[in-house]
């Protein structure tokens, strides 16, 4: 019974696989053009990503923000409201968590941590509420507003961290005070950045998977995204659904920011995220918002990121090559349906011209 669903997915998985292979080949060509051996480069990359306990730990550490922002993208895109503002929500969430961490250092450990996470989620969610309301009330394109609000959030935290909340210790430029020691998540593997936030992240992922795949809510989100009028006709409160999706999305990004603070930096830094939310968005788009796919693809992307550093150290191939490869994968996949159509058209044309040749051959006889 489930065969055709599986077949659809299989077709798409093939496209994903081919896109990745194609991007890696282009990456290899770039390496060759730079006079380096792709074999050596990719081996170093693989080794750097998965080759040791330490490398593996770093790869998994990278998946935390990717998966959270990926799920944030998934729930909003699935509901037909496009949150491109994850980066801004992440910055605000990170700052919010840090604020709790350094302002209330004497709360019980559990309370402090939960409060920091919840506050980050609330701030991220509220910030996402702005474009959601503008879309529902005034029909203003949320893509534009979320992009604008990204810059606003980054600038706002930039101000906060440099002026009212500038740290006093060493390297005070662009950083807040440290959060209380007891709120800092435990590192799981020595020297790596992998910390207990990965367990929180897994818990959140399971909840998100459950909501999206097993509940009435998930169904309502999906139908709202696929055909809003149909959903409304069927009894779904589509506007409410979109607002909820956006707030959840913002909250997840806020939490991703909180984990960067609680688990890795222990304070807010002015450039705390190198575009995690955009990476997470790409991950979600590649796997068409499938929660399970996001998990797997994040490990791949996380591996690329950690591996690229080792590759750079071992072969002096700049780690940014990975960014090029990533963007090529997304280009190929974004063009996937278009490519397929083009190829079909071309084949039809060829068939036709073949037929024309045959026809004219016939008439010649």
């Amino acid at each position: 019974m489930k065969r055709s669903l599986f077949k659809d997915n299989l077709k798409y998985l093939t496209s994903v696989f081919l896109s990745i292979v194609a991007a890696l080949i282009i990456g290899a060509l770039i390496m060759v053009a730079n006079g380096r051996s792709p074999g050596v480069g990719y081996m170093a990359l693989l080794n750097g990503a998965f080759g040791s306990k330490y490398n593996l730990a770093n790869t998994f550490a990278k998946t935390v923000p990717l998966i959270l922002t990926g799920l944030a993208t998934a729930i909003s895109f699935e509901s037909g409201i496009f949150n491109i503002g994850g980066e801004g929500q992440l910055y605000l969430g990170a700052f919010a968590a840090a604020y709790i961490g350094f302002t209330f250092p004497s709360l019980p450990k559990g309370v402090g941590i939960i409060l920091a996470i919840l506050f980050a989620a609330a701030i991220g969610g509220l910030y996402a509420l702005i474009p959601a309301i503008l879309k529902i009330k005034y029909k203003i394109d949320e893509v534009i507003t979320t992009i604008m609000l990204n810059s606003v959030a980054v600038l706002l935290t930039d101000y906060l961290v440099n002026y009212p909340f500038a740290g006093t210790g060493q390297g005070k430029m662009g950083a807040t005070e440290m959060i209380a020691d007891k709120y800092q998540f435990t590192r799981l593997v020595r020297l790596s950045t992998l910390n207990t936030s990965i367990f929180f992240m897994l818990g959140i992922s399971i909840v998100m998977y459950y909501i999206m795949k097993k509940t009435s809510w998930g169904y309502d989100f999906k139908m709202t995204g696929q055909n809003e009028r149909f959903a409304k006709y069927g009894g779904v409160k589509t506007k409410k659904q979109m607002i909820i999706a956006m707030v959840i999305s913002g909250a997840l990004c806020g939490i991703a920011g909180a984990f960067e603070v609680l688990g890795i930096h222990y304070r807010f830094l002015q450039n705390i995220s190198p575009g995690y939310a955009f990476d997470g968005m790409l991950v979600a788009m590649i796997v068409k918002n499938s929660p399970l796919g996001i998990l797997i693809m994040s490990i791949f992307f996380g591996g690329l990121k950690t591996g690229s550093i080792s590759m750079e150290n071992a072969t002096s191939i700049p780690s940014e090559l990975v960014l090029v490869i990533q963007s090529i994968i997304i280009l190929f996949l974004a063009g996937e349906t278009g490519f397929k159509k083009k190829i079909k058209e071309m084949m039809l044309k060829r068939k036709k011209s073949e037929k024309a040749v045959k026809d004219s051959a016939k008439s010649a006889f």
């Binding site: 696929q226 055909n227 149909f230």
Partner: protein
């Protein structure tokens, strides 16, 4: 009549999954008004788009003045003097009338600049020559559809069209505007020697306007005859094939229990104009009330109002005697209304979702299928879908097929299965068989009557008069948002009801039933 100016020979057009044109032959003679008729989806528009270079035929050839020719884009068609007025107007809303008319072949100053003054002059001149009055300075978005059609015709004439293709030109026009248009068409042909091809599905128009008529059915050309030898009956038979003998539907007597009642209800259309100007009717248990009318006279808005998709702006609505303020579709569904919408793809379904997902809409709020209205019981939902697919004879390899892959008839059955399975006391059904094959029509009709016989109160809106007459117990006619007549089925003939549908006759029965 003149020479054969255009000959289509063996034109076939294959779209993915649909054979839109199947080996079509057609001759157009110079200086004639040639009507092409057929039901929705018969392939008329596709054929004309091939002639205008917008679709490429899969096979076949086109002869222009006896010479084979390839028309692979509109530019080529324009060169040959072929112009087309599309069903959906091809006008840029923010441009002026003059700018739209010269679009593509603008008059220029110094070779690079647009000559706006000349464009206005051209427009005025054309307007004068052809007797089609337009104001060149107005923006297209601010003029009525009747005027927009004039602009379209002028646009084609400006480009030097000798052969004018009009695709369903009267669909959006009032009777007066239609009369005007026909005068213009006759003038174009008789005085100015143009050739006109008109696509329509209205038989009376064909008989009153055309010289010859070609009939298409399901992608095939059935035949071409001189209009003077044709009559309505004959054309209708050619259009639908041999008279389909539907079985007589067995109808139980209507009970006396009133289920739905509306009084003086009002609402507006999407442009904010009054669409319903205060109408009254009631429906009893086990009764089908048919709504007959030319499309766009408030039927869609009526259905949307009753199902919570459109705001009610006045009047009262009673369900089982209790006054109701429609708040949302959910609210109306909770009150016992199920709805088969007029446009299944935009409203009734999600093409991207599977059959199961489409059939489960509404179940997510029922404890029986979703524990605490949250946790979905997928197994139960799947089993129910499976049963509905069997009961309603949906032809599909599996319930996990994406809906977009089904045929129109099967899609419609999915909608009907879902809505009928709610077992609501009220059913609002709009265009239940639009674009559906004849076998499915028969099935859907029998399902509707079965619901009626179970005691359901049914409102049926349809553009097909045959359908209205076959299924309804009572019929109301609507014209410009008002009820113009109310009849028991059997009291009135189809041609009589036509007069009520066009507002020429009016009785007071609509108010204060």
């Amino acid at each position: 009549m003149g020479e054969k100016i255009i000959q289509l020979k063996g034109i076939t057009k294959q779209f993915p999954g649909v054979l839109a044109n199947d080996n079509i032959d057609l001759d157009i003679e110079s200086g004639e008004i040639h009507a092409i008729i057929g039901e929705n989806g018969a392939g008329k528009s596709t054929l004309m788009k091939i002639l205008y270079g917008l679709n490429e035929p899969t096979s076949g050839e086109i002869l222009f003045k006896g010479k084979p020719i390839k028309i692979n884009n509109p530019t080529k068609a324009i060169e040959l003097g072929i112009g087309m007025v599309h069903q959906h107007f091809m006008l840029v809303p923010s441009f002026t009338v003059a700018e739209n008319i010269v679009l593509g072949i603008e008059p220029r100053k110094n070779k690079v600049f647009m000559d706006f003054k000349k464009a206005v002059d051209i427009t005025e001149e054309l307007s004068e020559t052809y007797g089609l009055k337009v104001d060149p300075h107005l923006k297209v978005e601010s003029v009525s559809v009747g005027i927009q059609q004039r602009i379209e015709i002028l646009k084609a004439l400006y480009k030097g069209a000798d052969i004018l293709i009009l695709d369903e030109p009267t669909a959006v026009l009032t009777p007066q505007e239609t009369e005007e248009l026909f005068k213009v068409i006759r003038r174009l042909v008789e005085e100015l020697g143009k050739t006109v091809i008109i696509i329509t599905h209205k038989l009376q128009e064909v008989l009153s306007l055309s010289d010859r008529v070609s009939v298409m059915r399901q992608g095939k050309m059935i035949g071409t005859i001189d209009t003077k030898d044709a009559n309505e009956q004959m054309l209708a038979e050619m259009m639908v094939g041999k008279e389909v003998l539907f079985d007589e539907l067995e109808k139980k007597p209507i009970s006396n229990k009133e289920i739905l009642r509306v009084e003086n209800i009002k609402t507006r259309d999407n442009r904010g104009l009054p669409a319903l100007k205060g109408i009254d009717f009631n429906i009893k248990s086990g009764e089908v009330l048919g709504v007959a009318g030319v499309e766009g006279n408030g039927q869609s808005e009526l259905v949307e109002l009753l199902t919570g998709l459109r705001e009610m702006e006045g009047g009262s609505l009673y369900i089982n005697g209790e006054k109701v303020e429609p708040k949302s579709p959910k609210h109306m569904r909770d009150l016992g209304i199920a709805h088969v919408p007029e446009d299944r793809l935009s409203t009734g379904l999600s093409a991207e979702a599977t059959i199961t997902e489409n059939m489960m809409m509404g179940l997510q709020y029922k404890e029986e299928y979703a524990k605490k209205k949250i946790h979905l019981d997928k197994e139960k939902i799947r089993n129910r879908t499976k049963k509905l697919i069997e009961d309603f004879d949906v032809r599909t390899p599996s319930q996990d097929v994406h809906l977009g892959n089904l045929s129109g008839g099967n899609m419609q059955k999915v909608v009907i299965a879902r809505e009928f399975a709610f077992n609501t006391p009220i059913l609002i059904i709009s265009q239940p068989t639009r674009g559906v094959d004849i076998g499915a029509i028969e099935f859907i009709h029998s399902q509707i009557i079965e619901k009626r016989n179970e005691g359901c109160a049914i409102l049926l809106v349809s553009a097909e008069l045959d359908e209205i007459f076959r299924l309804s117990d009572r019929i109301i006619t609507v014209y410009e948002g008002e009820i113009t007549g109310e009849f028991k089925n059997g009291e009135i003939t189809k041609s009589e009801i036509g007069l009520y549908m066009t507002g020429k006759h009016k009785s007071n029965v609509g108010r204060g039933v």
